[in-house]
């Protein structure tokens, strides 16, 4: 019965994902051939993204894969840990229940308004996925606990969520801090991040006497925004490649081309991590997925343990400036700048950061007088030839995009379809019958855990706008910060702290609307702002004592947090140099854009 439900969910998520791939392709063809569009193509792709995201979030909740802080894993086994888990689950259930009811209110008004997506499909039919997903997340947060007593206790969270929804007027004017403190505690004890962000937004709205239904309105608006489908599509492309043997083929290319350099293995690690992060999105993912493969390789080549751990921890966030990394797409959606410009702007900074890390690796190798393999033309040629299909992908996407054939979303669909076709029918790494559904569902899960965070974080942004925080912040800064350099320095420091405390997606959604008006006041180029924002966050992940990647690396490499932090310190300084260059030399970012404009 329960596996039946799982099948249905996975089937729906996979179908929605396929719709998001195929409709834009059909649209490109129909537009080129007949000059018309497919009826409702754009809106349906956007709605498919909503479905992929929230069915994926429900699936992720089922498997306990919602994004959460790693701090809870430091609790010792025993009663303390089970109490923490129960408390975390109860909090998640509270927030998810409240959001399910709030989403239902949204569905109800949409139904009454009678709006239609296209060709007779009612908007509220498609919105139903929101309350359903939040309800499933609430139930699963409780069900994942094993002890019946713990389940019963956590189930109180469902009642609490309902009480908050129906008793909303009683909460108006209540102080904000007790609720926020409770949520922060729950997050530290392992509650998923969506509970912290969504709960904070709901509690703050309630205190101001505004209905928490303001949150799902924002969630829905963001989920169906026109450029957001690029997220599931590029993720699918990355997944199709990662599931097959593409990473091996690419690793071979890099080894053959760069392995002969001094510090060759370190250089290869930096390159592979950059590419992997760019295609799979989260920087933490890279450490977890590739750490186990690359650490032994570095140690075997004679690198010092602390150097190897530091290098990999730092490399884990290198690719977030490299197209088509998800943080770039999210930034473009939130700040309303063209994705293409951000992709182009991020290229040189990404190369700069990767080069700095690679150079540090070379220095280490030269200092330790390590041996290096010779360069072999035949091996390089063979490796390049074997990986030709993978290497053609970025070329294809860029040509389609820059020639005006496709929009950003359509080129993402092209990339996803291309990667799937190559893996299924050319390399045959994946079997259509055995692997396709699994890969699609897995992609939906990853997209879902990201979109859930985005969806509730945008609710928190909605609260900040409602409370007029951006306008007040602008006034304050105008009065107290006189020069652009002083503003940038302040921004460096502020983003470092944000990067320590928040994941990249919620940080983008919550912080970007605050800093965009400020940056406009100091006449900072919007693309430059985007790149320096993400580069600064990247640094925050590595900053002791709370940088997220330090936690992940400590877990993955089974080292104490402090020793990872110490090992990463030199890399942190190297990367900080890069971030300062990116911040204060805008031409690094805007040079390519200016070059394009002059053509």
């Amino acid at each position: 019965m329960r596996s039946g439900l799982r099948r249905i969910e996975e089937g729906f998520a996979a179908a929605a994902l396929l719709v998001a791939v195929l409709l834009p392709l059909l649209e490109i063809a129909v537009r080129r051939l007949w000059g018309v569009g497919v009826p409702g193509s754009g809106p349906f792709v956007q709605q498919a993204t909503l479905w992929v995201g929230f069915l994926g979030a429900a699936l992720a909740a089922r498997d306990g894969r919602l994004l959460a802080l790693a701090t809870a894993s430091f609790l010792p086994e025993g009663p303390a840990r089970s109490a923490a888990q129960t408390f975390a689950a109860a909090t998640a259930a509270t927030v998810a229940t409240l959001l399910a009811l709030a989403s239902w209110a949204l569905v109800a008004i949409t139904r009454d308004a009678g709006t239609v997506v296209a060709v007779g499909v009612r908007t509220w039919w498609l919105q139903l996925v929101l309350p359903v997903a939040f309800a499933l997340i609430a139930i699963r947060s409780v069900w994942r606990l094993e002890a019946p007593g713990a389940r019963a206790l956590a189930a109180l969270g469902v009642a609490a969520g309902a009480a908050l929804w129906f008793g909303a007027p009683a909460i108006e004017g209540a102080p904000a801090w007790p609720g926020l403190l409770l949520l922060a505690l729950a997050a530290l004890l392992g509650a998923p991040l969506f509970a912290l962000l969504g709960g904070a937004a709901a509690w703050l709205f309630l205190g101001d006497g505004v209905t928490p239904a303001a949150i799902p309105v924002e969630t829905y608006a963001l989920s169906v925004s026109p450029t957001l489908p690029a997220i599931p599509l590029f993720t699918l492309a990355g997944f199709a490649l990662a599931e097959g043997r593409s990473s091996e083929r690419l690793l071979r290319v890099f080894r053959a081309c760069f392995g002969w350099l001094p510090g060759g293995t370190a250089v290869v690690c930096a390159l592979v991590c950059s590419l992997f992060t760019a295609f799979t999105g989260g920087s933490g993912v890279t450490i977890v997925a590739l750490g186990g493969l690359l650490l032994p390789a570095l140690l075997r080549d004679g690198y010092r343990d602390s150097f190897a751990v530091g290098l990999l921890t730092a490399s884990g966030s290198l690719g977030i400036l490299l197209p088509p990394a998800l943080p770039l797409i999210v930034y473009a959606v939130v700040a309303r700048v063209p994705i293409e410009d951000l992709f182009l702007g991020g290229l040189v900074p990404a190369v700069l950061m990767t080069t700095l890390v690679a150079a540090w690796g070379m220095r280490e190798s030269l200092a330790q007088h390590m041996e290096r393999p010779p360069f072999r033309v035949d091996e390089a040629a063979r490796a390049l030839w074997q990986a030709k299909w993978e290497l053609a992908l970025p070329v294809l996407v860029l040509i389609a995009l820059l020639s005006g054939w496709t929009t950003a979303v359509e080129s993402a669909a092209l990339a996803a379809a291309y990667a799937l076709v190559v893996q299924l029918f050319v390399h045959r790494d994946l079997s259509p019958r055995r692997d396709l559904l699994r890969v699609l569902a897995e992609c939906a899960r990853v997209v879902g855990s990201v979109m859930l965070i985005l969806g509730v974080a945008v609710g928190l942004t909605g609260y900040l706008v409602n409370a007029q925080v951006p306008a007040e912040l602008l006034d304050w800064t105008r009065d107290h910060v006189s020069s652009r350099a002083a503003f940038l320095l302040g921004l460096n420091g502020f983003l470092l702290v944000v990067g320590c405390l928040m994941d990249v997606f919620s940080a983008t959604v919550v912080v970007v609307p605050l800093i965009v008006p400020l940056a406009a006041h100091y006449e900072i180029d919007p693309i430059h702002l985007g790149i320096l924002f993400l580069a600064n966050l990247e640094l925050g992940y590595l900053t002791p004592p709370v940088g997220l990647n330090l936690f992940l690396a400590a877990q993955r490499f089974e080292r104490p947090l402090l020793s990872v932090a110490r090992a990463t310190l030199p890399m942190l300084l190297v990367l900080a140099t890069g971030v300062l260059l990116i911040t204060y030399v805008p031409a690094i970012t805007t040079g390519l854009l200016a070059l394009r404009a002059s053509h």
């Binding site: 000059g35 569009g37 409702g40 129960t86 209110a105 949409t110 206790l153 102080p175 239904a213 026109p226």
Partner: protein
């Protein structure tokens, strides 16, 4: 186990327990109003002035907070927020108004109105009807607001209708019937999201886009599309609306004060907005914009009539369409009757 129970009690108390309540303050109505006009623009300044008048004329019982520049989201989002009670008012354009009631599409028929005079005459005649339709959907209209007049900005010059048909023209994504009509009449529509326009202009995916001169200046699209054809495609009509729930919480005197203030803003915009569009065109001309009028006005008018037929009963309710047409034609006939 005892520890877990105590913990659970704590959780229960914190999550569901009684929360400190404040004494009920004096009954005031706080109105949160969303707009889509840039901060500091004449519309924004007008709305803020209106807010000051509300406070003054109701002795502080009604306060207005304005969220300009689409901070509260796109029009559909803002309408949803009003329906849920998270916002109490908004200055919407025709996009949002038509989401509440399709009757407002009567202002989107191309080449239907020749002048602001005709437009304002039709608005005055249809206002009671449209306001009634709005109220049935739970909204009250506080004042109409002109947002400008759409002109065609293109990459290549347009002096005749066939010139425009040769260029790929932007069409709003999601209005498929409109796209099919464009196509059936020999145009090359490219349905796109609004946000994709700058990139699409830059890569040549589209070559022509209808927009008001002020917006073309503000968004700087006249760089990519430096030819403006002065054909007055359609007015961009807007209105400030409030939820009926909030409206009903006001006293009769306060409602009158709000309406009077809204009417003053409406009058101000009627002179300021056309002036602003004229100034925008002059400014863009100084920066290299080429302005021309088509050499075949009859062909454009015939096209307009054809689109009007298509839209009657599909986009625009027949009764409203016919009333608007009758009123417009009556005005066109009127000057001859006068001395």
């Amino acid at each position: 186990m005892r520890c877990a129970l105590a913990f659970a009690a704590l959780v229960g108390w914190l999550l569901a327990g009684p929360l400190p309540l404040r004494a009920e303050p004096e009954r005031r109505v706080q109105v949160r109003l969303a707009s889509f006009v840039p901060e500091g623009s004449i519309w924004d300044k007008g709305l803020r002035r209106m807010g000051e008048e509300w406070r003054r004329d109701t002795d502080g019982r009604v306060t207005l907070t304005v969220y300009p520049g689409g901070q509260q989201g796109e029009e559909a989002t803002v309408v949803a927020k009003m329906r849920l009670g998270a916002l109490q008012a908004a200055s919407l354009t025709i996009l949002g108004l038509a989401q509440i009631d399709e009757g407002f599409n009567v202002f989107t028929v191309p080449f239907f109105y020749d002048s602001y005079q005709e437009l304002h005459h039709v608005i005055a005649a249809l206002a009671p009807d449209l306001e009634g339709r709005l109220e049935a959907k739970g909204f009250v209209l506080i004042g109409w607001g002109d947002a400008g007049w759409l002109q065609v900005f293109s990459v290549k010059p347009v002096s005749t209708l066939p010139d425009l048909k040769r260029q790929k023209i932007y069409a709003a994504a999601g209005f498929d019937r409109m796209v099919q009509w464009y196509k059936a009449n020999g145009f090359q529509p490219r349905p796109l999201a609004f946000g994709d326009i700058p990139q699409a202009l830059a890569t040549g995916m589209i070559e022509a886009v209808p927009i008001t001169p002020v917006a073309a200046l503000f968004l700087q699209w006249y760089h990519a599309a430096p030819y403006m054809t002065e054909i007055g495609l359609a007015p961009l009509v807007g209105a400030t609306v409030m939820t009926k729930k909030t409206w009903q919480a006001l006293s009769e005197a306060d409602r009158e004060a709000l309406r009077a203030s809204g009417a003053r803003l409406q009058e101000h915009l009627r002179t300021a907005v056309p002036e602003q569009d004229r100034e925008a065109v002059e400014e863009m001309q100084r920066r290299g914009l080429h302005v021309s009028t088509p050499s075949d006005p009859a062909a454009w008018r015939a096209l307009g009539d054809h689109f009007a037929e298509l839209m009657r009963g599909t986009y625009v309710p027949e009764s409203l369409f016919d009333r608007a047409l009758a009123e417009r034609d009556a005005l066109r006939a009127a000057p001859r009757a006068e001395p």
